[in-house]
């Protein structure tokens, strides 16, 4: 238990006479599903009307499912509707002086939800948003990020996080992401399967300095943890008619890799980006294992190979490769098409001539900071060319540096070819971001994985075959199970390990978790259903993005829309209507994912889409002026009907 910091009586009123009474964030993670609520109680203590803003950063991949607003006792509630019907409803009845929106942000893996009200003096408003996100395991850790931006001192500030993991919790850490200022304030209490994290800085502790009126609370509150892995390779959790199968075996030797690094050395890479790339590459090359094979291609308008074929990652070869990388001077254009085709050719040839270990994993890592300017320029044609030539067992990973690269194209390219994409921010952190990404894929432990469940007993199973399993990550498969007629659920996983064919069988009682979860007041009783829905929606989004025909796309869109409505979540095909009790006033919170080329919003992939220009004008950030007397009006009807089609 932790002591509460009730109102200390310290003044938190700023010069603008706006009082933040409380700012609370509550998260409950039930078996990797985080359910987060951010609540802010704020008052316009001035005599004149002022803007009250609720601006919350939401991790990309999270699904907003509820927002409520209470203005002087009048509660606005939200509902999720099909996007165009929400917009036409909104066009007919807008709220006066109120706006809400979901905005893209350039911050890593974040987007913003923002609600803004112009209210008379003395008005008290309580905002509350709820969102959910499946938490992915990366580098042997689950990371739950709670962005905190109260904007001012809060009489009560509280972050309360509960973790409930039936598999057992191995460790819980709170990296001091908010800075030294808050060292030692957060507390952790950890049991075998549950943990509680509490962060309640007093007003004095929130102050930037002892007599400052500004808050030092700004940034991410981060919790990292992992579940127990020392024994089972996988965990089959069944609850309320759904199953979730987590699979993250350890104690396996890595499979050898055949890896081709394809590095953009066009003129735009000159300077910091290239320096950081060289630094990252030196570490990455140094980390290759002796049974790995590799080569490097660098490209601008031309494509050069460090070696024409794959070579063993011996110390001598990696040292030579490091020297080669150091000697590169970026200049010229960008010929992505030829570079990728050459890389594919090298891998295909090596395979054809039996030079690759049959148990090895082949991958291409593309690093680029810009769109093609030389050779094939049409992105769909490049995509087609790659798909046509690449073998099914080669994975393509794409790193897009900065914002001049069409990141959505890289994402499509990667997803279509068994890989992942990652946005790299072209700054001082570029090198560490690249290394971190590489570390996620540097240790393939299994390949050709197949998850099998008895037909007839399960349905709507999410993707159940996987090209590779990388150490430190986790594969998740979900589905529906007939718990009424079935007592046990069996699964059989087959995979290829470094030196053996692996067959793993699991038999779980369908009621095995009932007692544990039903007796915990914090556990989300619908976590299995929600996780299944989120995984399914993400997969449909990715499938839609790659669908070859408009008809297929429309069908997938329909399915996503139906699932979004069924599960009451904001996706690119739904919008959130926020309504006054009498229905007279309406606000619309729309998703920013409208770009035609955008891929997989909210998807469990690494990275985030490019910032776009489609943020509705009414949702733009309001400058933080001291007094805003004008009423904020809603958007014009024309502005809201020009997007969203196939």
């Amino acid at each position: 238990s932790t002591p509460s910091n009730d109102d200390s009586g310290e003044s938190v009123t700023g010069e603008d006479n706006i009082i933040l009474h409380s700012y609370k964030v509550k998260s409950t993670i039930t078996s990797r599903l985080a359910n987060t609520m951010v609540q802010s109680r704020v008052e316009n203590g001035a005599r004149h009307p002022q803007n009250l803003v609720f601006d919350v950063q939401i991790p990309k991949g999270a699904f907003i499912h509820n927002f409520t607003m209470n203005v002087n006792g009048i509660t606005f509630t939200s509902s999720v509707k099909e996007k165009s019907s929400a917009r036409s409803q909104y066009a007919q009845a807008r709220a006066k002086g109120k706006a809400a929106g979901i905005l893209r942000s350039n911050d890593l893996d974040m987007e913003n939800f923002k609600a803004e009200l112009n209210v008379p003096g003395g008005t008290k408003v309580q905002f509350e948003i709820h969102y959910q996100q499946p938490i992915r395991r990366k580098l042997s850790t689950y990371e739950h990020v709670v962005p905190l931006q109260p904007g001012r001192l809060a009489k009560q500030l509280e972050v309360d996080i509960r973790i409930i993991e039936p598999q057992g919790i191995n460790f819980v850490h709170i990296p001091n992401a908010l800075g030294e200022h808050f060292a030692g304030i957060a507390t952790i209490s950890k049991g075998e399967k549950k943990a509680h994290i509490s962060f309640k800085p007093t007003v004095a502790q929130q102050r930037k300095c002892s007599n400052c009126s500004l808050t030092a609370v700004e940034g991410n509150f981060v919790v990292t943890y992992d579940v127990n892995r020392d024994r089972k390779a996988g965990e089959l959790e069944i609850f309320n008619g759904y199953f979730i199968h987590y699979f993250a075996p350890e104690n396996l030797d890595p499979l050898p890799k055949n890896i081709l690094f394809v590095i953009d050395v066009s003129g735009s890479m000159w300077g910091l980006k290239m320096r950081q790339t060289v630094e990252a590459m030196k570490t990455i090359l140094g980390d290759l294992r002796s049974d790995d094979k590799f080569s490097i291609l660098d490209f601008n308008h031309n494509v050069r190979c460090w070696r024409d074929s794959l070579v063993e990652a011996s110390r001598m070869q990696t040292d030579a490769a490091k020297k080669y990388i150091e000697g590169i001077h970026p200049n010229g254009g960008t010929n992505i098409n030829d570079a990728l085709l050459r890389a594919i050719f090298i891998l295909n040839e090596a395979n054809k001539f039996g030079m690759l270990d049959p148990n090895s994993v082949s991958m291409i890592v593309l690093v680029s900071d810009g769109d093609p300017t030389v050779g094939e320029l049409k992105l769909p044609t490049i995509q087609k060319n790659v798909k046509k030539h690449i073998q099914d067992d080669i994975s393509l990973f794409c790193l897009g540096i900065g914002f001049d690269v069409d990141y959505d194209f890289l994402k499509r390219l990667a997803h279509e070819n068994n890989g992942m994409a990652q946005r790299i921010f072209g700054n001082q952190e570029t090198s560490s971001q690249m290394k971190k990404f590489y570390n996620q894929v540097s240790t393939p432990l299994l390949k050709k994985l197949e998850f099998n469940y008895p037909q007839g007993l399960v349905s709507d199973v999410t993707h159940n075959t996987f090209q590779n399993y990388f150490g430190g990550s986790e594969i998740v498969v979900a589905g529906k199970v007939d718990t009424v007629n079935v007592q046990h659920l069996q699964s059989v996983i087959t995979a290829t390990a470094s030196n053996a064919q692996l067959v793993l069988e699991t038999l779980e009682d369908v009621e095995g978790l009932d007692e544990f979860l039903n007796n915990d007041i914090h556990a989300d009783p619908k976590f299995t259903e929600k996780l299944w829905a989120y995984i399914t929606i993400n997969q449909l989004m990715a499938e839609r993005n790659l669908a070859p025909t408009a008809a297929l796309k429309r069908n997938i869109t329909k399915s996503i829309l139906q699932m979004s409505l069924d599960h009451h979540i904001v996706t690119p095909y739904t919008a959130m209507l926020i309504e006054s009790p009498d229905g007279e006033e309406l606000m619309l919170a729309d998703s920013p994912q409208d770009r035609k080329r955008a891929c997989c919003p909210g998807v469990l992939t690494i990275g985030q889409p490019k910032p776009d220009n489609s943020i509705p004008s009414w949702a733009k950030t309001t400058p933080k002026t001291k007094d805003t007397l004008s009423l904020l009006m809603g958007p014009t009807a024309a502005a809201v009907h020009e997007v969203d089609n196939d």
Binding site: D230, A233, G234, L252, V503
Partner: protein
């Protein structure tokens, strides 16, 4: 550890104990002609009882030389080693590892079966004691069916009995312990005093075991075994027995 040797032709069971120091590795089967080695490493109980420290098999190593495969079964995990690479299954998993027609099948928290070419097989049973048991530790039991096709050159504490020795037990008489009769056993040119005893086979009942009547050979199987029990010490889990 206890050993029970079933002599099917003579329909007798002979049993003996080997008492040695924790860490010692005993050769159980050494068959250079078939290229199979089975060794067991001893683990000690947590406490001495009556000034005696019980030992058990804590780790069993199998080496299939012609396949270049090693299998280590410990009370923690089951590991297949092929050259420098290894793959493990834990006792919490039910599953199989298949490599060069060697199949290792693990039944969760129960047993592991090694099958070579779908023919010869070995079973290792896991015996878990409750956590924080004051004296006992987890240990392993090994079961080798007599049908395994070892060569005539097979040796080791168990391997030597693949060729069934002639055993004659006679002059059964009351023993020093009531209910445990004694007898005289002629085996391998020795005349031994043996005691009627009971041992357990845990394959069918992992908790209580099934009683197996046997003639117990004292002094670490002296006389029943070729040479002394210490002749069967080997340096590693995959070493052949040097003769």
């Amino acid at each position: 550890p206890h050993f029970i040797i079933n002599l099917p032709r003579q329909q007798k069971n002979i049993c003996f104990n080997i008492d040695s120091e924790p860490g010692t590795i005993l050769n159980l089967i050494s068959d250079a002609a078939s290229g199979i080695v089975v060794n067991g490493q001893l683990v000690g109980a947590k406490k001495r009882v009556n000034n005696k420290l019980s030992t058990y098999f804590g780790k069993i190593g199998f080496y299939f030389e012609d396949r270049r495969l090693k299998v280590e079964v410990s009370t923690d995990a089951i590991t297949l080693k092929d050259g420098l690479s290894s793959t493990s299954l834990s006792w919490s998993d039910t599953g199989s590892l298949i490599r060069r027609r060697l199949r290792i099948s693990v039944a969760k928290e129960s047993n592991v079966t090694l099958t070579v070419d779908g023919d010869s097989s070995f079973m290792v049973l896991l015996h878990r004691v409750w956590k924080k048991h004051p004296a006992h530790v987890d240990f392993l039991g090994l079961y080798i069916p007599p049908t395994n096709n070892f060569s005539a050159a097979a040796h080791g504490l168990i391997g030597q009995f693949m060729r069934e020795p002639d055993v004659r037990v006679y002059n059964e008489r009351p023993g020093r312990v009531p209910g445990k009769s004694e007898a005289t056993m002629d085996v391998k040119g020795h005349k031994l005093t043996v005691t009627r005893g009971l041992q357990k086979d845990y394959r069918l009942d992992r908790v209580f075991g099934t009683n197996v009547q046997c003639w117990f050979v004292h002094n670490n199987g002296k006389g029943f075994l070729d040479g002394s029990y210490s002749d069967y010490f080997v340096p590693t889990l995959y070493s052949y027995l040097k003769r």
